[in-house]
Symmetry: C2
Subunit: 201 residues, 2 copies
DNA sequence: ACATTTATTTAGCGTTCACTACAAAATATG
DNA sequence: CATATTTTGTAGTGAACGCTAAATAAATGT
């Protein structure tokens, strides 16, 4: 296998692939898939189009890799919230982390899985489908966590795990729009707290 | 004043302006501002670019008029919900109407004020700002309605009207993403009912 | 009849889009 | 050294973008 440390033949790459990908991620995050032009991407990454295509494939492949990086980074701690001991704790943790996350400086512009492509032309349809699948899967993971909570007696029998997961997810999604519209961290924390008052007892 | 019934001089318009605008609205609704290309717009409206520009100005002016039509049509009944006698009734009505609205056939693709331009290039920045202003104003109208409810004793003193308005708005906004992701009407009704359980007593 | 006014059709404007052919440059291997 | 391999900068490609000038068509005004 060609490890990173073995010297490869040919002219060495003059830029840091990871750093360039990180820059691309932020552009896609801010602009969305279609709104991010190649000239803006190459400008931010500090490379020329030919280098971009040699290193990442094409625009969509670059987006896929940027999305993977986004999921492994900013979103990873969101998924970790599923390991809280109680279902209530899971939900509360998710919403509070979201409140923090959405008001960090770099993330002022919401959640990438939502705003990268809610709408668009036919060109971006594969991206939209991919993001929908991602959101649905994430919501389903939450639903399964709540099912487990029911079987553990952590949630009342009359509670519907799917409805609960959809509610928490919808509040999360609404929070990203709120962040775009200028909500402060306190605003979002209050929002999270109010949502938690709907919790079944 | 030049009424619609007075015969105007010159060659008469060969298409129905209102119908064409309605078609444009649906394209913008489905595709977003940037995702709606002029060729798709003119195709759906059944006219040529020159006619479009003569009748509506340019792409952004067309969008503005389509948005006004959207607000006067699908959204008008949402605003009418503010006239419910109680604050609780207002909130419940808004969320239930949203559940219905988002699962009508023609509206399968969410709410235009959100998805028309969450992100995009610099070109669409004016549109994004306009939509943000619109959402903020709508949320503020809800806040004022809840303030009134407090002064009328319809809401407890400890309730925060701004937080309440933000919560209901956020749930509404989350519902549009849920609709895009395939939620059924029942799913959204359950979501609305669950959100209402957070109501202050 | 003829001029005036407005709308439509045709054809294409300049710009930006995502993307790439090509040759020079920079490394490893033999 | 020569050769192979890979990346680089240069300079574009064709296609789609939003938009428009110019000629023709269809109505009213005199």
């Amino acid at each position: 296998m060609a490890g990173q440390l073995t010297k490869r033949v040919g002219r060495p790459r003059a830029f840091d692939r990871d750093k360039a990908l990180d820059r691309a991620m932020h552009i896609f995050w801010k602009r969305g898939f279609e709104g991010a032009s190649l000239s803006e991407l190459t400008g931010a990454m500090g490379i020329k189009p030919a280098s971009l295509y040699a290193a990442f494939g094409n625009k969509q492949a670059l987006f896929d890799q940027a999305l993977t990086r986004y999921l492994a980074g900013p979103v990873a701690s969101m998924h970790a919230a599923l390991e809280q001991p109680t279902a209530y704790g899971v939900a509360e943790r998710i919403l509070h982390q979201t409140a923090e996350f959405l008001t960090e400086r770099r993330a002022r512009h919401g959640c990438m899985t939502i705003q990268a492509a809610l709408t668009g032309g036919n060109e971006s349809r594969p991206v939209r489908r991919k993001l929908i699948g991602l959101r649905v899967r994430e919501q389903d993971a939450l639903r399964r966590r709540f099912e487990r909570a029911k079987s553990e007696g952590d949630l009342p029998k009359h509670a519907d795990a799917a409805d609960l997961a959809r509610f928490i997810t919808a509040v999360f999604q609404g929070m990203t729009v709120q962040a775009i519209d200028g909500a402060s961290r306190d605003d979002l924390v209050h929002l999270a707290d109010m949502a938690m008052r709907a919790w079944p007892k």
